[in-house]
Subunit: 326 residues, 2 copies
Amino acid sequence: MGTDNAPAEDIRGVVEALGDPGRGDGFEMILVGRGDAIEAELARYPRLDRSRVSIHHAPDVIAMNDEPVQAVRSKRESSIVRGITLHRDGAADAFVSAGNTGAVMAASTFILGRIQGISRPTIASQFPAANGFTIVADVGANVDTKPRNLYEFAVMASVYAEQIFGYANPTVGLLNVGEEEGKGEERAVQAFELLRESRLNFIGNVEGRDILKGTARVVVCDGFVGNVVLKFAESVPGLLRTKLSGYATTGFLAKLRLGFARGALKNIFREMDYQEYGGVPLLGVNGVSIIGHGGSTAKAVKNMIFKADEMVRREVNRRIGEQLGL
Amino acid sequence: MGTDNAPAEDIRGVVEALGDPGRGDGFEMILVGRGDAIEAELARYPRLDRSRVSIHHAPDVIAMNDEPVQAVRSKRESSIVRGITLHRDGAADAFVSAGNTGAVMAASTFILGRIQGISRPTIASQFPAANGFTIVADVGANVDTKPRNLYEFAVMASVYAEQIFGYANPTVGLLNVGEEEGKGEERAVQAFELLRESRLNFIGNVEGRDILKGTARVVVCDGFVGNVVLKFAESVPGLLRTKLSGYATTGFLAKLRLGFARGALKNIFREMDYQEYGGVPLLGVNGVSIIGHGGSTAKAVKNMIFKADEMVRREVNRRIGEQLGL
């Protein structure tokens, strides 16, 4: 209910997910939010199979700029709190939201609880790389983390990379300012030891350039640097578009040349566009909670739903628990 | 002497700098390194005005992978140590090197000393932005910094942005994971207070995406995150080239389209290429010390020399001292 174009865009995403010829089978949707608004939107899709959709009324709305923890405490009848509670109570196998990220993180952690052995849940995001994707955790702004947190991020992101991206025994790199052991801030130096002693496929320190190079399948870092790099990366296509538009105004020939290249460039930008991937899971909670951008398109919402479906099927949480138990 | 193509590429840069029709006047060069190797390279440029070039023999070489502090201590007759000592003793107004970055940082700090009031020198780097450049400090891997260090980085980078880039009273942003005050790691929360109480043109927290947007002319951060973002940014053109090449192999038409766009793309990539800018100054030492990539081309070396020239003329250090004295 709190996204930029709620609930129209979100519901279009649900309809597209249910109708997808490849991945649209095998799940049902509970739409949590203001019943009348949801009903009005659903009425726009008369051919939708309504037996696969139910509505759970939740009158409160957590806005994008609400202070997360306070909003979760005070707005008990919000779609975020109600939806995650339905998941905890077993009425749903997963929860998906493009609403207030902090609120989804807080409500998921409070209501679902953490997987045993995990001290802080993490958000892992995917970056395009020369050879597929690089999974970076934490990008969810877990700041002032301890070395132990970075080890846990590595375990969670490794299971996620293996189960959802199909990277067997994924390589793990520790984000640092140099490749040599002993480099970097105190936290990284200590995390290096924990990772080396673990059963993960740890390949040592990696640097900022290694994310796009794909040197390691999984890159772990404190959420401060991960969040900065994620937001930086998301802003790259915007700068390229601005610069290309500037170039196009330098003359007719320049414009013509760029016109020819549009298709190629669109392809590249698409790979750098989060809408393609939908949301990212909050790893480490006792459940499946998928978080998307507030500006998610229907396509992004659809892909978030597919990701939730896959997280449940691949039993990512059970495998994380297993890895920690080793 | 320790760069990837030393001394050929470095000396070609010197020759190009001295011969530049626009900025090549008003300075002389002392080439510090192995005399015979330098002499042999210089012999390739018979038309060079040798009255503007002298050679200072330094037999030791600090390699790119030498441990910086140890190398500076043990290799007293290296080009880095000898060159910076010549600068300290007044034989040169500035020092330029594309050698081992850590060694140049360490030698500059030990030999030149720090500007009064500066506890840690910083490397500030420029990022392309929609409206010019964003200056980010620290990117030189000053890790485990204190809030006071971030304030000092802001002072030094502001003077640099104003004097070298011509941005009057430049806006300063604190790199963080959210815009709201009180966000982020403890260091950032405390640095926010110092910056707000300062006479700098502080506009508050900025996020990773604001670097390329150009929200603030100066962005300050701990060197760990700054170094990661810098190296990430430097790797973006490489990924784009890889992806575009991949697209070009999808068919004749794709290749043709890309051929047309090559000129436009080259323009964009050039702006993201550090070779264009040459090196970056180590701010906060009692002198002018310009540091370049080990793989610097002659063009990059030339631009480093011009930057050194400008740093001296604009009296950047005196102005930093003034700002701190306020």
